[in-house]
Amino acid sequence: MRLYVDSTKCSGCNACRVACSLNLFGENNPKKSALVIEPHFPEPGLYTVKVCTQCGDCAKVCPTEAIKQDEKGAYYVDFAECNLCEACVPECPEGVMFVRAELSNSAWKCNLCGDCVSVCGTSALWIAEIETLTA
């Protein structure tokens, strides 16, 4: 399972990012969220949203094995094991691996909690099976 987004439906409201920060950190602070909303204004006048695709590339390079998989198979960061080395950040193809030392002493990423989907009024976000490319 992974998170999907249709950016054409995104209105830039950021409700998803507040919900995410509440889940990951128990704090009301969208800067501590695990998805990215890029506004493109005034032209062309739309938002692009980046979400974790559960590719696991981050976990592959983590030297402390801080990025683990839960019982649903979703990758998450074990805050106790992360040493902020940032090896994971450039590996993420979507740019949704986060290290901001002033905000947290651990890296963070999406843990597929689904709260963002619950608050997205335009249904731009949803969770579904990971689609694999077939030959």
Binding site: S11, G12, C13, A15, V18, A19, F41, G121
Partner: protein, 607 residues
């Protein structure tokens, strides 16, 4: 303090002194936030008789307890000041992301005081607050300024900026943010311009403390669920406020040719679906909003982008000017946004000018050669520019139509459509007595935000003048602006019809204080009376006459459209006011009685 960012920021621009104070718990308890904080500071700190454009006036910007939270519509901040347009109370509500960022920067209110000797930008990044030189930005249009800051600082920074309109002190200059949201009415932009503040740039990374995290998350989720399950969500999101253009046209509420009628023969070209198909790109919303009303659009004809036009701009610059081209309205909207002037007042003022021209009160000599006929798109574009720069006819119009019509005379006062000096917004009120009363008694002037009641008029009987209608208006006035006090938007309740009881546990979980809607409406009633007392304090002859509508609505029945031949009698206008004052606990001249002031616990604030 739970539910609050914790600090009031004071910026004395005369002395370039910046101070921070903790947000007083009493203030939070009694006035809650947003517009509540605004009226408190306005009454307490702006001296009687202050020049709205002078150093004694203050611009008070306030977020509220739901701003920046996981609560639908938690994206509004209030801008309160003494209004250049009217000399009375101004409170403008601005959407977008500014209010959330204020909270994350630790600020409940920002108070701008004094006057800066040179143009400045107020720069806020968490605890770092600076006044920076803005002389290179002075003169620039709003999109240019916002883009410049975003490119330099990044998208996390939120920008509020004035355009040339605010710099030139146009009476209805606005403040712009997020490429299409405004603190629109009353001339709040002129106050910012008079203080020589070009822009406020803000960024914060703090979290908001909350009394009960579990309860807050649960209540917030319940609110979002209700919005997502609301029947009208899809339609509302598709059209935003343009959803009512066709309906208003049909029932005679669409202002046409300076409010001379309520239906427009070209109206079909301005309806929501036509606009959607022709120009809309993205449904753009404010912070935390599940029902984004913003329609970010691109006009191919003019190759320009704008967030809009929304209902008001379609009404005031479209049908009100006899313009039936949605792309022209979009372009006019963009011009107003670039220049930083309120589209409602500008459209209304141009409509007045067009009627003056039609009646021969203005000739081409007065209009700088413009053929100012209704429907003339190019003349409209030209006049918008002139208003912002206060050139030629624009200089007269920039003062607002109350002053302009007093100067011009020749009967033009009779068709200056305003109340208290604020140009009437987008609903023609021929034979619609509840909405007429709404405009007459709105606390900032003729604006619809406090008590929109046209459906009610139609349900109950539009010509009726009965106590129930008055009670309805009063209830709406005590209730709807509470969203402005909470730091949020009313449209989720207004348009999606969600159960407002869902907000109660959310507010309690955030602030730790239980408030029912009855409690909140009591706060609303107190604030309402305080704004009334501010008008009284600032205007020697304040009273009943200030609540009178334009004579157009009791003397001139429309000759066309759905309300052809329909008008309210002057006796009924007065009866409406009599009932309103009685139900409000005011004198027959419209002033809060001593008893009312005491009953509401306002004695201490109103020496």
């Amino acid at each position: 303090m739970n539910g609050y960012a914790g600090r009031i920021l004071r910026v004395n621009l005369t002395t370039a002194t910046i101070t921070k104070e903790p947000t007083p718990p009493d203030l939070a308890r009694d006035f809650i936030g947003g517009r509540g904080f605004g009226i408190y500071f306005l009454l307490k700190e702006v001296p009687k008789g202050a020049d709205p454009l002078g150093p004694e006036n203050k611009l008070i910007i306030s977020s509220g307890p739901i701003s920046g939270m996981m609560i639908p519509g938690g994206g509004k901040c209030d801008w309160t000041t003494k209004a250049p347009l009217t000399g009375g109370y101004a409170s403008a509500s601005m959407g977008g992301h500014f209010t959330a960022e204020m909270r994350y920067a630790g600020l409940d209110s920002i108070i701008l005081e004094g006057i800066s000797p040179k143009p400045v930008t107020l720069f806020i990044d968490n605890d770092r607050v600076e006044l920076r030189d803005a002389s290179d930005l002075w003169g620039k249009t709003t999109f240019v300024v916002e883009k410049q800051f975003k490119e330099k600082l990044g998208e996390e920074y939120q920008i509020a900026t004035i355009g040339p309109g605010g710099e030139n002190l146009v009476s209805y200059a606005c403040i712009n943010h997020d490429y299409g949201r405004q603190a629109g009415r009353g001339g709040v932009g002129a106050v910012m311009g008079s203080k020589k503040v070009k822009a406020i740039v803000i960024h914060g990374t703090k979290s908001i403390p909350v009394a009960d995290m579990e309860a807050y998350r649960k209540a917030g989720m319940a609110l979002f669920k209700a919005c997502k399950e609301a029947e009208g969500l899809k339609d509302w999101t598709r059209y935003g406020t343009t959803i009512v253009v066709s309906w208003c046209d049909e029932v005679g509420a669409l202002p046409t040719r300076n409010f001379s009628a309520g239906s427009f023969e070209g109206g079909k070209n301005l309806y929501g679906p036509v606009m959607r198909e022709k120009i809309v790109i993205t449904d753009k919303g404010c912070f935390g909003c599940p029902s984004p009303c913003g329609k970010y659009s691109r006009s191919k004809k003019y190759n320009s982008y704008v967030e809009g036009p929304e209902y008001e701009t379609i009404g005031l610059i479209g049908s009100n000017l006899g313009i039936d081209d949605i792309e022209a309205v979009a372009q006019a909207n963009r011009l107003c946004d670039d220049l930083g002037i309120d589209t409602i007042s500008a459209g209304n003022a141009i409509g007045w000018a067009m009627e003056c021209y039609q009646k021969g009160i203005f000739t081409k000599k007065d209009t700088d050669g413009l053929d100012l006929k209704f429907g003339n798109v190019e003349a409209t574009f030209a006049l918008i520019e002139k208003i912002a720069r206060r050139e030629g006819l624009g200089a007269l119009l920039s003062e607002g139509i109350k002053r302009a019509s007093q100067k011009v005379g020749k009967g033009s006062e009779k068709f200056a459509i305003h109340v208290k000096g604020m140009e009437q917004s987008g609903y023609a009120t021929h034979n619609a007595t509840a909405m007429l009363l709404a405009y007459m008694t709105c606390d900032v002037g003729a604006h619809h935000n406090r008590s929109w009641a046209i459906t009610y008029d139609l349900q109950v009987g539009r010509e009726l003048v009965v106590p129930e209608k008055v009670a309805r208006i009063i209830w709406l006035q005590n209730f709807r602006p509470m969203f402005d006090v909470l730091g949020g938007c009313r449209l989720q309740w207004v348009e999606l019809n969600i159960d407002r009881e869902l907000y109660v546990p959310a507010l309690e979980a955030i602030t730790g204080i239980h408030r029912s809607w009855q409690d909140l409406e009591k706060v609303g009633e107190r604030i309402w009376n305080l704004t009334r007392l501010f008008w009284l304090r600032e205007n020697e002859d304040f009273g009943r006459q200030w609540d009178m509508p334009s004579p157009r609505f009791y003397e001139e029945a429309p000759k066309t459209g759905a309300t052809k031949g329909q008008i309210t009698k002057i006796e009924d206008v007065n009866r409406l006011l009599d009932m309103y004052y009685e139900q409000r606990g005011w004198t027959s001249d419209g002033l809060p009685t001593t008893e009312t002031i005491e009953n509401l616990g306002l004695k201490a604030l109103t020496h």
